[in-house]
Structures are given as structure tokens and as C-alpha cells.
């Protein structure tokens, strides 16, 4: 059995990529301190900023919210109920309970009520896969709530495995445009709030262990639409590399940020941003994608073929 590096007691908790054994108490401290270091490294935000955390009710987002509040940041939550049967019901309950536990404000968007259609209902009329329009809707409401309620930072719980799988995907196709946006902090611009990913250097397993040790009650079920996703496939592949040589994921990601990102960051296409004529949110078109989606759903109009992702 290994011994905790800090206090010497026997422990099972070992992080191979950092060659680090820690007892539960010191693991929690380490995880929180590492998040703080990441926040500072990328100058994500400060104690004076007002942060809105996207919370799904899963282990990563509840852990992130917990860590930020414990570190003394002004962080409230935004939960979007997607209307995906039992999965969404349980997610909302767990998120509400957690908000109560930490005593922070929680905003709730109910897609069925606020957008007029749930994800399964939209799916019936959409050509795109659910995760595609689901992502668009989530980004839209996050930005909308940030502006309406005066938050200047949007935090999401994307972890190292999320970032590495996307990085791998974008690298395999040398998608310079996407790569040039893959940075854990994107400044406020064109009416979009600043976006940050404080868990970008924490692996999925590290976040899950934190959730267990900090006794966070999260939803364990996966969204039914996640099954068979490309991300999942890549994560499993990358995990095999990591198993053979621990530290591969962190190296691939960190070296990208320090060596490759500076070279390509100015390749971000400059786009002109308008205000949606219907809802006032930023968009590249006259009417934003969300309003177009809503119109299509409610009035059954044909979708235009020039649909473009609105949000950088």
C-alpha cells in the first residue's frame, strides 16, 4: 500500500500521471489547489468577477461549482433541463439539492417551457444529430443568462479528457479554424461573455474521484444520446495510450497550448457580428440560429442551407 505524500498515512489513492499518492483529505486539497493554479496560469478570472457555472448535475460540473465556491469565487449555477425523460428529471433534482447544500443561486432553463420544445421533440424535425443542436441551445442560454443577470464569466466543466479528445479530432483533420479556438479561456467579444474551463488540466478520473471523496451526489446515468458518440470512441482510444505511458494526455494538451496555439491563434477568422433581429443575441446572420430553429419548429418552415454555427 502506498503512503500519502503529505501526511504519510496509508492510502489507495494514486495518480500515475503525477506519480502522486494522497490520502482522501490531501487529495481534496490537491485537486482544489490544482484548479486554482490553472485559473491563475490562464488568468481566467478573479475574486471580483461574477461567474456563471453551467451545471448539468454530473460529476464534473457539480465538482467545479463546489471547488469554485470553496476557493472563494462568486459562482452561481445555470442548469438547463433538456426534457430528456427521467435523465433530465433526476439531473435537475440533483442540481437543485446541490445548490441548496452550497447555498448558491441556481438559474434553471426548462427547454420545454422556455424554448417551446424539448430535445427529443426537436430531434423529430431536425436533420442534425441531437448533440449538435443541444450544444447550440446550451451555449445560447448560457450567454443569454450571463447578459441578463450580469455575469461576466461563463465557466464550463470540460476536463482534460474532453479537451484531448477534441484536440485529437481536430488535429487528425488539421482543422486550423477549430484548433485556433481551443484555448481554456476565450475573451469576451462580439457580445459573447468570457468563457473559461478551469478543469482543463484535470482528468476525468481525477474529477470523478474528487466528486466521490467530497461526497457530491451527482447523476451517474449518461444522457441516452451520448451512446456511441465520436467523443466516447476517441476517449477510449486515448485511454489506451495513457495506460501504456501515463502523462500522454496531459503532455499532448499542454504542449499544444504552449507550442502550437501561439502559432495558430491569429488564424481565428474575423467575423462580423450582428444582433439577432428577433431576440437581440449576437449572431453572424440576421436571425440567430436559435430563433431560426424555433421558427422552423413552430411554423414548419424549411431550414435554410446556410446554417452556420453562431457562437465561437
Amino acid at each position: 500500500m502506498k503512503k500519502c505524500l503529505k501526511c504519510g498515512i496509508r492510502t489507495n489513492i494514486y495518480i500515475p500521471q503525477h506519480r502522486l499518492a494522497l490520502c482522501p483529505e490531501h487529495y481534496i486539497n490537491w485537486f482544489e489547489a490544482r484548479t486554482q493554479r490553472t485559473i491563475e496560469e490562464f488568468k481566467m478570472f478573479q475574486k471580483t468577477d461574477r461567474i456563471l457555472v453551467a451545471v448539468s448535475g454530473g460529476k464534473d460540473s457539480l465538482s467545479l461549482w463546489n471547488v469554485l465556491v470553496k476557493l472563494g469565487y462568486e459562482a452561481d449555477g445555470l442548469h438547463i433541463n433538456l426534457g430528456i425523460s427521467e435523465y433530465s428529471e433526476i439531473s435537475e433534482i440533483k442540481t437543485r439539492n446541490f445548490a441548496q447544500r452550497i447555498g448558491r443561486k441556481l438559474h434553471i432553463v426548462d427547454l420545454g417551457r422556455d424554448f417551446g420544445r424539448t430535445i427529443p421533440q426537436i430531434k423529430e424535425n431536425e436533420r442534425r444529430p441531437p448533440c449538435s443542436f443541444c450544444g447550440t441551445l446550451k451555449r445560447y442560454y448560457m450567454n443569454l443568462y450571463a447578459r441578463e443577470y450580469g455575469y461576466n464569466v461563463l465557466a464550463t466543466a470540460h476536463n482534460l479528457d474532453d479537451e484531448v479528445s477534441v484536440l485529437m479530432l481536430n488535429t487528425l483533420s488539421w482543422n486550423i479554424e477549430y484548433l485556433s479556438r481551443q484555448f481554456p479561456v476565450l475573451p469576451e467579444e462580439n457580445g459573447f461573455a468570457r468563457k473559461v474551463k478551469p478543469f482543463c488540466k484535470m482528468s476525468e478520473k481525477e474529477a470523478a474521484m474528487y466528486a466521490v471523496l467530497a461526497q457530491i451526489d451527482y447523476i451517474e446515468d449518461e444522457c441516452p444520446f451520448a451512446e456511441g458518440s465520436t467523443t466516447l470512441h476517441y476517449k477510449k482510444l486515448i485511454s489506451q495510450l495513457e495506460e501504456k505511458s501515463p502523462g500522454t494526455k496531459l503532455r499532448f494538451y499542454s504542449e499544444f497550448l504552449s507550442k502550437m496555439y501561439p502559432v495558430i491563434k491569429d488564424r481565428r477568422p474575423k467575423t462580423s457580428i450582428n444582433r439577432c433581429k428577433s431576440c437581440g443575441e449576437p449572431t453572424q446572420s440576421e436571425i440567430c440560429m436559435i430563433c431560426r430553429m424555433r421558427n422552423n419548429l413552430l411554423y414548419g418552415k424549411l431550414q435554410t442551407s446556410t446554417d452556420k454555427a453562431d457562437n465561437p
Binding site: 500500500m1 489507495n12 489513492i13 494514486y14 482522501p24 454530473g58 460529476k59 464534473d60 448533440c131 479528457d161 482528468s203 476525468e204 478520473k205 474529477a207 470523478a208 474521484m209 466521490v212 471523496l213 461526497q215 451517474e220 446515468d221 449518461e222 444522457c223 444520446f225 451520448a226 451512446e227 456511441g228 458518440s229 467523443t231 466516447l232 476517449k235 477510449k236 485511454s239 489506451q240 495513457e242 495506460e243
Partner: protein, 69 residues
């Protein structure tokens, strides 16, 4: 008559039983087609090492950290 104890494994809302007297965490992960790189076992709130043994009568929970979407 004595009821034979089993190893009880809770995994994503399902309860799975193993007839074995004892098993290593590693073996359980393997049976569930999971890797220790992203999954781990918890017994009474305590995280277990892959090489630890669980025995009949134990109830453990498997956490699979990987999520898609």
C-alpha cells in the same frame, strides 16, 4: 440451510452479482469491460486500489469516469 453470499457490484444504477468467493478489483473492471485508467471501485465511501481483493458479502460501487456527448 446456509445462503451463499455473493459479491455485489453497483454500476450505473444496476446491481450485478458475482458468484466468486473473492475477486480483485482489476478482475471486476475487466468483466465489466472497463479500464482502471478511467474507472475505479468504491467500498463504504473508500476508493479501492486495483489490486485490492473484495470478497463475498461485500458491496462495492464502480464509477466509470468517462462520459460522452
Amino acid at each position: 440451510m446456509q445462503v451463499k453470499e455473493k459479491i455485489y457490484v453497483l454500476y450505473r444504477g444496476k446491481k450485478i452479482e458475482f458468484e466468486e468467493e473473492k475477486m480483485k478489483v482489476k478482475e471486476i473492471l475487466k468483466k465489466l469491460n472497463l479500464s482502471g485508467e478511467y474507472a475505479f471501485a468504491v467500498r463504504n465511501g473508500e476508493i479501492l486500489d486495483e489490486n485490492q481483493t473484495v470478497k463475498a458479502g461485500d458491496e462495492i460501487k464502480i464509477v466509470n469516469a468517462i462520459s460522452g456527448g
